[in-house]
Structures are given as structure tokens and as C-alpha cells.
């Protein structure tokens, strides 16, 4: 005893599609400690954003995440529209919601496939990704792109979903519902999948609160957090849907939440396209000439959880400061709770179960003195500053409500 083996997961490893390093310290097959190193993917998005105009930032933030490429523009639009104090047309709201929910479907299908692959169940992998394909085709029809849709702008959307395209969407939705049925049946009723995922990587309610985990990770542990309900935006308050939760907090519960959420997404899209048919075509954006000075917060529920954008405007045509927090930022920290004490086989599955996205979440902060070029403010001071700022924001949000 006492001698620990280091099992490295990464920087290049088939478990993760991005480079990052998890160090699993193992005693036999049991993981006794976990450390991770990220930073292989840092791109300086926040700094880049300050050098771009508001219109260009949309294309930049769209590329933060390749899979949930609409959630970041969504949150950024919410933030900038809060500064500008505008209310976008209803038709634009519905179109934004359709795009957001289609993205949730394809992202969850992608996760189900990857989870199957991690379990060694490659048939589920191939099937889920085959079912994801029509969703991408639908995107191509609506937006012109299979991914990175470039649909959002300040004050609305760039393209209308013309009414003659709606029957095709409706037809596809009914097909997708059947396919999700099939997939859900295959996953939920398989005793071997139960044996492999139930009770694995359990996160209790308290763990979720301690680590401030978000999205399906939190909902699988019985916490009904969903920005679409908590801080309604776009057309979410206008349609009927419910937040899916599960109580167990294990990998199976996370899969269950994601699978059932797809049904909700399909239902939201159906309601949105029904509403779109009744609205006048073409009325999809406002003309906004300038963004006044001020601060704005935008939140959106990405497939993986809350995306938070904080924008400071000084009245010029580009953000003076743009802070982004992706959902994986808090979800990754839960690995300490879910992996320690598990076997390697379970730990790797728990790592994948939160659907982490590393390149979205990698940030770096450094403060330099403008006159001398010296680096000032260390990590502790920065954390202190951000805590104070968070307190202020919380007060102002509470004031609004």
C-alpha cells in the first residue's frame, strides 16, 4: 500500500475529444485522487472580443464551442440587448428558440452516442449519430450551415424561417420523436447498461450546490435549475414545457435527463413553428444603430448548462470588457466528488457523463499596469475582486425582481 500508480487520461486520449490531462492516482483499480490540467486549448476569446465590433463578436463567440455553437451567441445577444434595452420581435424570439432547441437535440444525441462509445457499445454510438444527421440537415435548410449557424445579431436574427419551410420541419420532428423513442428504449431497458451506469459517479444534491454545477448534471441530482425557466428569455415563457429532473445523480440519471429533455425540445419546436405560421413573415430584426454605455448580463441554457456572458460597453462599437463563463467551468470541478473512490472503469465514465467541453471553459486572467507593463494583481486578489463584483451583481439582480 501507499505506492500509487498514475494513470494519465490525456493530453491525447480516446476518451476525450479535446486535449486535456486528467491524472488519476490509483491504488489497484481504485482511484484515490484526481488532478487535472487544462489550458491546452486557450485561445484568448475574451481579449479578442474586445477588438471586434458587436456584429463581429457574434461570429467569434459562435466558435467558442463547436457543438453548442448557438448558446454563446444567444447569451451574448441577451447581454447586449439588456444594455441596449430593446425587446426583439416575436418572430425573432421564436426563431431563436427553434435554433436553440434543435441544437439541444443534436448535442444530446451526440452525447448519447459518445456515452455509448465510452461504454464500448459502438452500435448506440453509430445509431445516435445517424439520427443526429437529419437534425444537421434541418439546420442546413434553415440557416445554410450544418454547424456554426450565424443566425444571431443584435436585435433579432439574420434569416427568417420562411413559412414554406415549416412543414418540412414538422415532418422531421415527428420522425425524430420516433427515433428518440427507439434510442430511449434501447438505453433505458438494457439490463447491462443498468449494471454499468447505475450508482456510478453519484453526485448528491449537496455536491451540486457546493460545486454550483449546472445543466443536466444538476438536474440529474434533483435540482431543477434551468435558465430557460429561472430567467426566461426568447420564446421560452411563451410555450409550454417542463424541466426534466431525476433524483439519483448517477450516470444513468444523467442519460435519462438528456434523453427525456429531447422530447421537451421536440415539443418546444413544434409549438414554436405553430406560432411562426401565424406571425407575419419577414419581421425578424430591429435596426439598432448604437449600443449605449452600460453593463449587461446575458444567460442562456446551453445543452450542457448555463452559459453566462457579461458585457461592459463604453458606448463605442465594441465591448470594453467581455466575460464568458461556460457550463463546464463548474461541472468539471465535480469530478473530485464523482471519481474518487470509484474504479478506473467507472471514473472514466463519470468524467464523460457531465459532457465536458474544455475549449469553451479555458480562461486566463492577467492584469498589467499600463504605464510600466508589469503584472499586477495575483490570483487571490482577482478572486476577491470577482467575489465583490458578484455580490454587487446579485444585489442588482435581486433589485430588479
Amino acid at each position: 500500500m501507499g505506492r500509487k500508480t498514475l494513470i494519465p487520461i490525456g493530453p491525447y486520449h480516446p476518451l476525450q475529444e479535446e486535449p486535456e490531462l486528467f491524472k488519476l492516482y490509483c491504488d489497484g483499480e481504485i482511484v484515490t485522487d484526481i488532478k487535472w490540467e487544462t489550458g491546452y486549448n486557450h485561445r484568448g476569446i475574451e481579449k479578442l472580443s474586445e477588438s471586434k465590433t458587436y456584429d463581429q463578436v457574434f461570429f467569434l463567440v459562435e466558435r467558442i464551442c463547436g457543438i453548442c455553437s448557438t448558446s454563446h451567441p444567444f447569451a451574448f445577444a441577451n447581454a447586449v440587448e439588456e444594455i441596449a434595452g430593446v425587446e426583439i420581435p416575436d418572430r425573432a424570439k421564436y426563431i431563436r428558440t427553434v435554433i436553440g432547441e434543435l441544437e439541444r437535440i443534436h448535442s444530446h444525441l451526440l452525447w448519447v452516442g459518445l456515452a455509448g462509445h465510452f461504454l464500448g457499445y459502438n452500435t448506440v454510438f453509430m445509431w445516435a449519430w445517424k439520427y443526429r444527421e437529419p437534425v444537421l440537415d434541418l439546420f442546413e435548410m434553415i440557416t445554410g450551415n450544418r454547424n456554426s449557424y450565424a443566425m444571431f445579431k443584435v436585435g433579432g436574427v439574420r434569416r427568417d424561417i420562411e413559412n414554406h419551410k415549416i412543414p418540412a420541419i414538422r415532418k422531421e420532428m415527428s420522425v425524430i420523436r420516433k427515433k428518440i423513442d427507439l434510442l430511449t428504449g434501447a438505453v433505458m431497458d438494457d439490463p447491462v447498461i443498468h449494471a454499468r451506469t447505475k450508482g456510478v459517479g453519484v453526485l448528491t444534491k449537496q455536491d451540486i450546490i457546493d460545486y454550483a454545477a449546472v445543466g443536466p448534471t444538476a438536474r440529474a441530482s434533483g435540482i431543477a435549475t434551468d435558465i430557460r425557466k429561472d430567467d426566461p428569455y426568447a420564446a421560452y415563457p411563451l410555450v409550454n414545457w417542463k424541466v426534466i429532473t431525476a433524483q439519483e445523480g448517477d450516470v444513468f440519471a444523467k442519460a435519462e435527463v438528456r434523453l427525456l429533455e429531447m422530447y421537451e425540445s421536440v415539443s418546444i419546436i413544434e409549438q414554436c413553428i405553430d406560432a411562426l405560421e401565424k406571425l407575419k413573415e419577414g419581421d425578424v430584426s430591429l435596426k439598432i444603430n448604437e449600443i449605449p454605455a452600460g453593463i449587461g448580463m446575458g444567460r442562456a441554457e446551453a445543452p450542457r448548462g448555463e452559459v453566462f456572458h457579461f458585457v461592459v460597453s463604453d458606448g463605442s462599437n465594441s465591448p470594453a470588457r467581455h466575460k464568458i463563463r461556460a457550463p463546464s467551468y463548474t461541472n468539471i470541478a465535480t469530478f473530485r466528488k464523482s471519481c474518487i473512490g470509484q474504479t478506473i472503469a467507472d471514473a472514466t465514465l463519470s468524467l464523460a457523463a457531465v459532457d465536458p467541453c474544455y475549449c469553451c471553459t479555458e480562461r486566463m486572467a492577467a492584469v498589467y499596469d499600463n504605464s510600466t507593463g508589469e503584472r499586477i494583481l495575483n490570483a487571490g486578489e482577482l478572486i476577491k475582486l470577482s467575489l465583490e463584483r458578484t455580490k454587487e451583481i446579485r444585489k442588482s439582480v435581486a433589485g430588479h425582481e
Binding site: 494519465p8 465510452f118 464500448g120 459502438n122 452500435t123 453509430m126
Partner: protein, 309 residues
């Protein structure tokens, strides 16, 4: 001597088994692809894979660990698989009768590939390979008992015949062992054993791609890995052939060749379908699966056999 060498290297030895195994590997991959809505590889793909590894790819040796043992292991695996195949196929194809007790020799030789993978991976000094090796060891301990019980039950059914030739002869004189309830139970247990021996899902935890990145084979590259692949092709052929010899009355002359081919294809089909409709088990679950459930199944089969069912 010359005849023995011909047996070992050409027919039914290395060359024949490698070609048949490669074709079966293509069959397995093609079925997998069709199940997964994919197109699948062309017929000669397994051979191109082998040739690429053999001729094109470089051999990278781990800096730590024992190079001699590391390089010996693939040779040993290939030798074990070929020898076992020889002892199975000679009686099965009615070429030679074998000797009394050859079934025990086959049983030992069939574990040789797994053992050589273990020593090879431990010699590489890679911690991931070590985890894979420990899983493979646990897996062997689990399924070998079941496999031995299956062989023992077949020996009982044949009236204490300890050589494969006589076991086949007993079946051909009466009826195949699988035609009884106990035979069916033995067939199920045997099928899962060969699944584990082949290291396919749900029993591929020793190479578990998403966890251990190929585990026991992680350090192998180039020609040594080509040999491992070849040993795997051969195992994919001879293990179903062994089951056919034990339980499904082997091969009769003439049209029987066609039947033999169909039986082996059907067995590989079952193996492929099992691997495509299941996730990977944890090593603990696999152990209890074999040590409790499969052993129970075989013991029930032995009891039923005592009652003549």
C-alpha cells in the same frame, strides 16, 4: 518431419488459418458495419491491415522494461494459437487422429495467447498496460474454470473419451451433443467463454479503448503488433471450430464441408451480434458472471447429462 512442418506452416497450419481467420475477421467487421448502418470494409481489408503493420509501420520499443520479453510475447501468442489450431483442425478435417488426451493439450494451448499478452504488456513498463494486464488476469481466472467445466462435461457426454477425434466420432455415430438440453446449456456457456477468450465486448475490458486506450496492446506497434493481430485472426477461426468439434459433430465428408463452413459462420455471427448489442462489463461483473452464473449453468448441464437429458 516434412509432413509435420507442412501441417504446421501451410495446411491446416499457419497459412491456412491466417487466411481463413482474416476472412472471418472481414465477415465480423462487415456484419458489425451493417448492424451500425455503415458500409464496412472491402474483403481484403484485414490482410492489408496486417501487411501495413508488417511491412510499413516502424517498431517502437518502450525505453523501460524488458525488450526481449516484450518482443517474445507476440511470437509466443502466434505460436500458441497456431499449435492449438493444429490440434483442433487435424482431427476436425479428418487428416490425422491425434492422440489420447489431446483435448487437455488444446485447452492449455488456447490460454497461451492470453498469457503472452499479459507478460508482454507487463514487460512494457507502461502503467496503463499493467492495469490492462491485471484485468486480463482476472478475466482468465474467471472464464477458464467455466471453459474447463464445459470441456469436462463434453468428455462425460462422450463416455470418457479424452481425444477430439473420438469425441467427434461419438457424435457422428449417434447425434450431435447440442441436440440435448444439457448440450444447449453447454453451448451457451462455451459461446460466452470464446467471447471472453477473443477479448470482444462485453469482455474487452483489458483493452477498453475509451478507458485504457487499448490497454495491454498499448505499447505494441509495427510487426510485433501485426503478429498479435494475426494471432487474433487465428483465434477467431479456431475457437468456433473447437466448439463445432466439441458440440456440433465436427465435419462429415462431401457436403459436410459446406455444413462445417455454415456452422462456423453461424458461430462467428453469434459472437459478432453479442459484441454489437452489449456495452462493456466491469471486470468485477464479468468475474461474477462467469464464476457464479456460467458455472452454475454448466453444473446444471452436467447434472442433466447424468439423467440422460
Amino acid at each position: 518431419m516434412a509432413v509435420s512442418l507442412f501441417y504446421f506452416f501451410v495446411y491446416p497450419g499457419l497459412l491456412f488459418m491466417a487466411v481463413t481467420g482474416g476472412l472471418l475477421s472481414w465477415y465480423d467487421r462487415k456484419i458489425t458495419a451493417r448492424v451500425q448502418f455503415r458500409k464496412g470494409p472491402p474483403l481484403l481489408q484485414p490482410f492489408w491491415d496486417f501487411l501495413k503493420l508488417m511491412l510499413v509501420k516502424e517498431t517502437i520499443l518502450p525505453r523501460q522494461g524488458s525488450r526481449f520479453v516484450f518482443l517474445l510475447a507476440p511470437v509466443l501468442a502466434l505460436f500458441g494459437a497456431t499449435m492449438a489450431g493444429l490440434f483442433i483442425l487435424l482431427p476436425l478435417f479428418n487428416i490425422e487422429t491425434g492422440f489420447k488426451g489431446d483435448i487437455i493439450v488444446i485447452f492449455y494451448l488456447l490460454t497461451l495467447p492470453s498469457f503472452s499478452y499479459i507478460i508482454g504488456s507487463l514487460a512494457s513498463g507502461n502503467p496503463i498496460a499493467a492495469v490492462g494486464a491485471s484485468r486480463e488476469m482476472k478475466l482468465i481466472i474467471s472464464y477458464e474454470l467455466t471453459f474447463l467445466l464445459v470441456v469436462a462435461a463434453v468428455i462425460m457426454k462422450s463416455g470418457q473419451e479424452f481425444d477430439l477425434n473420438s469425441i467427434i466420432a461419438v457424435q457422428q455415430a449417434d447425434k450431435p451433443f447440442i441436440g440435448s438440453i444439457s448440450g444447449v446449456l453447454l453451448f451457451i456457456a462455451g459461446l460466452f467463454c470464446i467471447q471472453a477468450k477473443l477479448g470482444l465486448v462485453p469482455f474487452d475490458m483489458s483493452e477498453a479503448e475509451a478507458e485504457l486506450a487499448s490497454g495491454i496492446y498499448i505499447e505494441y506497434s509495427g510487426p510485433p503488433y501485426a503478429m498479435i493481430r494475426l494471432a487474433k485472426y487465428i483465434m477467431l477461426f479456431i475457437l468456433p471450430a473447437f466448439i463445432v468439434a466439441l458440440l456440433m459433430n465436427g465435419m462429415t465428408g462431401g457436403i459436410g464441408v459446406l455444413w462445417l463452413i455454415l456452422k462456423i459462420l453461424a458461430l462467428v455471427l453469434l459472437v459478432t451480434l453479442i459484441r454489437n448489442t452489449n456495452p462493456r462489463l466491469k471486470i468485477k461483473q464479468a468475474s461474477s458472471f462467469f464464476l457464479i452464473w456460467m458455472n452454475l449453468l454448466v453444473i446444471i448441464a452436467i447434472v442433466l447429462n447424468a439423467f440422460g437429458l
